[in-house]
């Protein structure tokens, strides 16, 4: 494959380097780079450059041309970096003067093309690609490129600025990696252990960080902090602790200043610091800074900090405890009796009195609590009961309940009908409790009684909005799963479910099918089917209507899935048998390939069940083949073979693949059972779509009838399966096809006007 591609490469290079040509489709260049990256990983740059001189010519012609498109220049810079990632490649490019030509500092500023963000980003990406060996670093240092990178850190393009940061961190990291003369990773080892000519590199970058943090210019401070956190996340010693020592003072100043707009970024820095060995060493003051960030719950940004602190994996217990306390404050303040401490918190009171801040504060509280419960970080001395009852009270306030003694009347007004808090509250309760009881408590107030629940649900089922109806059905399905079936039947909800099968919205019909399916399954489990035999009958009739007539895929998919889950159930229901063949035939002929896939899954379950249920399978005696023959003929009666062979020639690959796999399995089984009575299993080939295909493809001798096993033999299933697994990716992703596309696009003079899906 690659040799084919390499033979196309010179032509592609010519097309790309031609300033008269407009650059190819915007994804093509990216995909071409992907291929080069792969090649680079597989072999190395040297081989490629030596055998493909066209690449050197290409780079040279792009770099010297003044009229090339920015997209091509950007591509070339990235490619050059990639090819220079090996020492050999680097030398080849350097000898030809191409590296300087592409990356040198003067080249960057003089040309207008530098104004284009994609060129700057290509330049950075190129250097990033290249920086895999010492020569590359020497090149960057020797040509004064660090300065350019530091400037680009301030770039007006977010993408360029972020890439510059990455490159700076990569440079620092590179300094300390195995290339370092003294490879100690102990905290506190000094930068002087670096190669002497590289010390200047690290100090140039680190000074830039310190200066940024000292700056009065807000965006600059942000940039400095971002770089600092990246360094802490990604770099090792001695860079990490050296930089930390340098930034400690300005960092303290920033934290104590308490600027709200910096909170998030400052926390990211601390988050990074906490994960390093800097934590726990008093001289680095990480704990102190965390404490300072949290304050005493009396600054606006404390709540945000606390929310971030509780997420920290490695965190001093004292900070976590304090943060948890702060997290609980808003919740306590809204939902419990006034407490002196809470009462005096003016900031909190002010925040809660305004709608927007009240809601966001409570949501932050709730989601942090959910987080704490998930990570099991909640301290023992905090009463889970009081948390859950607070949350439940909050939920009830959302539905309009107003407790008599409330500290925050405003807050309770803000909460009425607030879905955001409701949703967040329910998510919080999930891990704390068995969800369903709480759900009911919330919806029904004090009367925890499922009988009262259904009228509410029924009312919601008549809502004009499909999303409400759908969510209600999903909820009912959940209830059924968790054992409310009995109530479902006695309350008459089942008939509501059945009528929902004819809803105007496809999504709702699909959810109704799932709910009905679940209700039936649950009835099987309770062995209460006799009482509800009506239900199964009605459900079957209506579901068959949905499967045969529904105009949308979801409900039809849901029907087939319901049948699959019934069939999987431990209580085989004979009543299903009569519908199964219709389901297989309707599902197999559906427009939607996913319905077909689900049908094949149903067929798979049917096969498993039928074949393993054969009572004589274990005994290896004469009755075995009779039994298998009977089983196969039973499957044939269901229309299983028609389904499988039809699907084998489907226009959608996943369907063919699945059918092929199932046929192979059947064949294995029949092959193991010698002397199968073929005459008992005769399929009618004529008049079948698949039969025509079989005849056309393989039966040159006209034969009207073939046995299932014989057909297996006629079709080379193994070969088919191999083909299906190998190729048939409908969108051709091969580099060869990509290059052909680039070449043919270049020949096509007419521009196809941009259009959308």
């Amino acid at each position: 494959m690659d040799s084919d591609c390499l033979s196309l490469l010179p032509a592609v290079c010519l097309v790309l380097a031609d300033p008269q040509q407009s650059p190819p489709d915007d994804t093509s260049l990216e995909k071409l780079l992907d291929w080069f990256k792969e090649l680079h990983i597989q072999s190395n740059g040297q081989v490629l450059l030596q055998h493909q001189p066209c690449l050197l010519e290409f780079i040279s012609s792009v770099c010297t041309s003044k009229t090339t498109d920015p997209a091509i220049i950007s591509f070339t810079l990235k490619l050059t970096g990639l090819l220079a990632a090996t020492k050999q490649g680097f030398h080849l490019l350097e000898e030809g003067g191409l590296l300087l030509c592409a990356f040198e500092r003067e080249a960057c500023y003089v040309c207008d093309i530098w104004e284009d963000a994609s060129v700057r980003s290509g330049w950075l990406q190129g250097l990033l690609n290249m920086l895999k060996h010492q020569n590359a670093l020497d090149f960057i240092r020797g040509n004064g490129l660090i300065k350019v990178v530091l400037q680009l850190q301030n770039d007006r393009s977010l993408f360029v600025a972020s890439l510059a940061n990455q490159l700076l961190v990569h440079i620092l990291n590179f300094l300390t990696s195995s290339n370092m003369t003294n490879g100690s990773d102990a905290v506190g080892s000094s930068v002087s252990s670096l190669r002497s000519d590289w010390v200047s590199v690290s100090s140039e970058i680190m000074n830039a960080v310190v200066e940024a943090l000292r700056s009065e210019d807000h965006p600059r401070v942000l940039l400095g902090l971002r770089l600092l956190s990246l360094v802490l996340f990604q770099c090792g010693e001695p860079i990490r602790s050296t930089l930390w020592k340098d930034v400690l003072v300005p960092l303290e100043v920033l934290i104590n200043r308490g600027s709200e707009s910096l909170t998030q970024t400052l926390m990211t820095v601390l988050q990074a610091a906490v994960r390093t060995p800097l934590l726990g060493q008093s001289e680095y003051k990480v704990e102190e800074l965390l404490e300072a960030m949290l304050g005493h719950g009396n600054r606006k940004e404390c709540f945000q900090c606390a929310a971030l602190v509780v997420k920290l994996e490695k965190c001093p217990e004292i900070s976590k405890r304090k943060a948890t306390g702060i997290i609980l404050l808003p919740l306590q303040c809204v939902s419990t009796q006034p407490q002196t401490e809470v009462e005096t918190n003016l900031v909190l009171n002010e925040q809660l009195s305004q709608k927007a801040s009240c809601i966001s504060l409570l949501m932050q509280s709730l989601s942090s609590l959910a987080e704490l419960a998930h990570t099991k970080y909640l301290f023992d001395d905090i009463s889970i009961h009081s948390i859950t009852s607070s949350v439940v009270l909050l939920l009830r306030m959302c539905s309009g309940h107003c407790p008599s003694s409330l500290l925050h009347i405003n807050a309770s007004i803000h909460l009425i009908g607030c879905c955001k808090v409701q949703r967040c509250g329910l998510d919080t309760l999930g891990p704390y409790h068995k969800c369903k009881d709480i759900l009911i408590t919330c919806y029904m107030g004090d009367h925890v009684c499922s009988a009262d629940l259904f009228p509410v649900l029924e009312k919601r089922m008549w809502d004009l909005r499909w999303d409400v109806r759908d969510s209600t059905l999903e909820f009912i399905t959940q209830l059924t799963v968790t054992g409310f079936t009995e109530a479902l039947h006695t309350s008459g909800m089942v008939s509501v479910l059945l009528s929902s099968l004819a809803d105007t919205e496809g999504y709702v019909r699909a959810s109704a099918v799932a709910a009905v399916g679940e209700a039936v399954t649950a009835s099987f489990h309770q062995a209460a089917l006799e009482r509800n035999s009506n239900l199964l009958e009605k459900a079957l009739t209506q579901m068959m209507i949905v499967l045969s007539q529904d105009t949308e895929g979801f409900p039809r998919r849901a029907v087939v899935k319901a049948f699959t889950s019934w069939l999987k159930g431990s209580h085989p229901v004979t009543a299903l048998d009569s519908s199964l063949s219709s389901v297989l035939s309707l599902g197999g002929n559906d427009f939607d390939w996913e319905v077909k896939m689900h049908t094949l899954e149903l067929a798979e379950v049917l096969m498993e069940k039928t074949l393993t249920c054969c009572p004589y399978m274990q005994n290896v005696d004469f009755s075995e083949k009779t039994c298998l023959t009977q089983t196969l003929s039973r499957l044939k009666d269901f229309g299983l073979f028609d389904l499988l062979f039809n699907s084998l020639f489907d226009c959608d690959r996943p369907v063919c693949e699945k059918a092929c796999a199932l046929l192979v399995r059947l064949r294995t089984l029949t092959a193991e059972t010698a002397d199968l009575d073929h005459s008992a299993l005769v399929l009618n080939v004529c008049g079948n779509r698949w039969g025509d295909e079989v005849q056309r493809r393989y039966l040159k001798k006209q034969r009207a009838k073939a046995s299932a096993c014989a057909t297996d033999g006629i079709l080379d299933l193994n070969d088919m399966q191999r083909m299906l697994l190998l190729s048939s990716d409908h969108v051709v992703n091969s580099p060869q096809s990509l290059m052909e596309d680039i070449l043919s696009a270049a020949q096509e003079s007419e521009e196809n006007i941009v259009d959308c899906y």
Binding site: D116, R156, T551, H730, I753, D755
Partner: protein, 598 residues
């Protein structure tokens, strides 16, 4: 100064996926959330990590607005809301909410089919995402929160497409999405009122083109189909389930009716019915002609177009088949193509965009030999035509919209850099407004003038009018005096008297006093007389009174003279004035300090 910031994550100097961040009056809004169909990894979605760094999208964004159902405008929505995590409100029009999930589902289905696809959303995710959508009507002002409001305007382009006005306080932005300024066969032209936004963000796909009319393209299309059918050939039109398909169906249906043609037209997908259902349901969104004829005949109930069965592909004789998917990369359209490709009598019409790597893309690029599965090659002998029917405003249309809305600034997106440059110059020249065209990832900042609306009392206005002068004119600001009352979040300008009355306050007069010592050998009365004469000579145009009780009065300024018995020559002159005459008062005190002329 307040400002508006705009950062495109997509559609900045390109026609890929649209995703534009706007920050206005402290609110952050995402305009469109599109997908790039040309990639099969995460590169197809906008990189949302640039939006928030670390925090959740829900905390950062106040809302997301989707302009229309095309996937390059809404395709990343389920990824963003369900996989990255966004629980805030998403706004789109009713038709968009209805049609969006069909297209997302359609694309999901053709995507998961492909191998090597990673990180793609599921059906359930599409549904959950759509549950977060708040649908809205045209011209309905929706209050997102207390400060932020949005309003949708008709945009043409596709069914349900809308332009959005976003307003926080006195600042506003209009985002056009894709729009069309000329009505087409089933949709009307975009319209907006003279809302004078601080910024108009407009698409510029056809920034340099004055497009040949869509009618020409349609005639061309019908001619080609007709010719092929006449010579007994078959026409394959690969389409996606919804959108262009319906447009072409109407076209063929009416043509078949008019020409009394007999060749069958088939539609191969089960989704048509649903799609047509929506076109019927949202009839108010279509153009006048369709609405008018709706009573007699529903344009979307097709007489000539029938459902397709895959066995029909082998039938002899001419036929026209619409088949999915539109890029010929899988399924029925590809299967039919393989059957028909070898016959030069047949024709393939590609009405839409094809991703690199698809058979559709290859054929459009003129490849005549295609490698199919199993190394077999397929000779492409049938005729291939590309027909773009997409309805975007051309340069003329964009200028027309600017005239309609009268924005203070202009920002171009969804276009190619070179073409934008041309249009930008044209706009700046013709309208004398600044025009911006940020690249992806670049932020444009527009400084806005804070304008604070104030209600004025009728009495004050009448009084001002009574004083004469020109009538009030929005374009000629003039100064007015009054008392500003800030009460219950409202601002009112009233006359001072009315303010006093309303607020139950009594008026206080503020007077300044000042003593000036003067050596003057005359009697007090004479000194005052000398002051009177002196002022008379200096302040010629003022009325100066000498009152018999021993005071001189100039405007509100009162002047008295006293002296002590011990030093009769040292006169103390008392000056007192009200705050209105502050200037004159201090002038007089300085004047008297310099002494009287002898």
């Amino acid at each position: 100064m307040p400002d508006i910031k705009v950062t495109p994550l997509g559609a900045g100097q390109d026609v890929g996926r649209s995703c534009i961040l706007v920050s206005i009056g402290g609110k952050n809004i995402m305009l469109d959330c599109g997908m790039h169909m040309g990639y099969n990894d995460d590169r197809r979605f906008p990189d949302f990590s640039y939006v928030t760094q670390n925090s959740r999208l829900t905390e950062f964004l106040d809302c997301v607005i989707i302009s229309h159902f095309h996937l390059d405008h809404c395709g990343a929505l389920p990824y963003m809301s369900e996989m990255v995590g966004y629980d805030g409100p998403i706004y789109m029009t009713h038709p968009t909410k209805a049609i969006c999930p069909i297209l997302l589902e359609d694309f999901r289905k053709i995507t998961v089919d492909k191998k090597g696809e990673t990180n793609f959303f599921t059906s359930q995710m599409i549904k959950d995402c759509m549950k977060k959508v708040v649908p809205l009507n045209l011209h309905q002002t929706v209050q997102v929160d207390e400060e932020l409001e949005i309003k949708a305007y008709y945009a043409g382009h596709v069914l349900g497409a809308a332009m959005f006005q976003i307003k926080v306080g006195s600042e506003s932005v209009v985002y056009t999405g894709d729009y069309n300024m000329t009505p087409d066969r089933h949709l009307g032209a975009a319209w907006i009122d003279k809302c004078r936004p601080d910024l108009l963000i407009s698409e510029s796909t056809y920034a340099t083109t004055i497009r040949d009319s869509k009618r020409c393209r349609e005639r061309d299309f019908l001619k080609k189909v007709h010719e092929t059918v006449e010579r007994g050939g078959k026409v394959l039109i690969p389409v996606f389930a919804l959108g262009r398909a319906q447009e072409l169906c109407i076209l063929l249906e009416t043509f078949w009716e008019r020409m009394n043609l007999k060749a069958p037209i088939y539609f191969s997908t089960g989704l048509t019915e649903k799609a047509n259902h929506y076109y019927k349901l949202f009839i108010t969104w279509t153009n006048q002609k369709i609405r008018k004829t709706f009573v007699q005949r529903n344009m979307f109930e097709f007489k000539h177009i029938k459902a397709f069965d895959r066995s029909y592909a082998d039938n002899p004789g001419p036929m026209v088949v619409f088949a999915t998917p539109g890029m010929l990369h899988a399924g029925q359209s590809l299967q039919i193509f393989k059957k028909w490709a070898g016959n030069e009598k047949n024709m393939l019409i590609m009405p839409g965009y094809c991703v690199q790597g698809t058979v559709g893309h290859k054929i459009l690029n003129g490849q005549k030999k295609l490698e199919m599965e199993g190394r077999a090659t397929l000779d492409v002998k049938l005729q291939v035509e590309y027909m773009s029917f997409s309805a975007h405003a051309d340069a003329k249309g964009i200028m027309q919209l600017i005239r309609m809305a009268e924005p203070r600034n202009m920002l171009l997106v969804h276009g190619e850099a070179k073409k934008m440059e041309f249009l930008k110059d044209k706009i700046e020249q013709e309208f004398s407004i600044s025009c911006y065209m940020p690249a992806n990832g670049e932020t444009t900042t527009i400084v806005t003038n804070p304008s604070v609306p104030v209600d004025i009392s009728l009495n004050l206005l009448k009084r001002e009018m009574a004083l004469g002068g020109p009538l009030p004119d929005a374009k000629r600001p003039r100064t007015m005096h009054g008392t500003l009352i800030m009460k219950d979040n409202s601002l009112r300008l009233v006359s001072p008297e009315q303010a006093l009355k309303e607020l139950g306050l009594s008026e206080h007069q503020l007077r300044f006093t000042c003593r000036v010592q003067l050596h003057d050998p005359h009697s007090d009365t004479d000194t005052l007389g000398r002051i009177y004469t002196h002022l008379k000579s200096v302040l010629k145009s003022y009325s100066i009174q000498h009152v018999p009780d021993g005071t001189v009065i100039v405007e509100s300024i009162v002047i008295k003279v006293t002296s002590s018995a011990e030093e009769p020559n040292l006169k103390v002159i008392l000056l007192s004035w009200s705050y209105q005459d502050e200037e004159l008062g201090s002038f007089l005190s300085t004047l008297l300090k310099n002494g009287l002329p002898s």
